[in-house]
Amino acid sequence: MDIKLNSKIYPLEAILNAAYSFIDRAYIFLDSGSKGAQIKVSLKGRGKISKKQLEGLKGEFMNELLNCALRYAISRENKKIREYIVGRALYSFLPAEDLASFDNKTNYREDPLGIAKPWEKKFGKKSNAKKRKV
């Protein structure tokens, strides 16, 4: 059974999610039209199933698709606030001492912790010197 879906109404991510939740119950294959505006879903029952059962499966798939499309829309709408909450939570996890000592005026070019120095410059000569002594 083929189902043709408008990708403006049902985004590909939602279709993929709905199809994925059905792969244990049916064989599903997706294809799209030349312009990509329409996505064709081929639904085939596992084993022999009647036409009525296949219709039922299609109905369930369409319901799941609607559910996935809604979830996708909500997650898109809430993306910024979600990122903000996670960022805020991670930021507040820093110990108070670290926050107090955090100096925004420090210039990254000064590199007080010596992060930008290559390992060879930091340790290379010393280790060579040690080797020579041994």
Binding site: A19, Y20, Y27, I28, F29, L30, D31, S34
Partner: protein, 70 residues
């Protein structure tokens, strides 16, 4: 018996198709070809025991692989 499966590039990605081919490589012989809009998979020498469901299972596996790649 030879069979062709054409995966639309807008839906399936090459990584997922390759992953599926690797997973099913012990059951058939595969040739993967890229074209502009499709990834074409030519399948031959399918194991007799699984021949009935092979193509459908392969397509389902590719779909699952695409979902995991997202």
């Amino acid at each position: 018996m030879r069979k062709n499966v054409r995966f639309n590039c807008g839906i399936y990605n090459k990584k997922a198709v390759q992953k599926s081919v690797l997973a099913f490589a012990h059951l058939a012989k595969f040739i993967v070809k890229d074209s502009k809009d499709y990834i074409e998979v030519k399948i031959s020498n399918i194991d007799n025991e699984v021949e009935d469901v092979f193509i459908d299972e392969f397509k389902n596996y590719a779909l699952g692989a695409v979902k995991k790649c997202l």
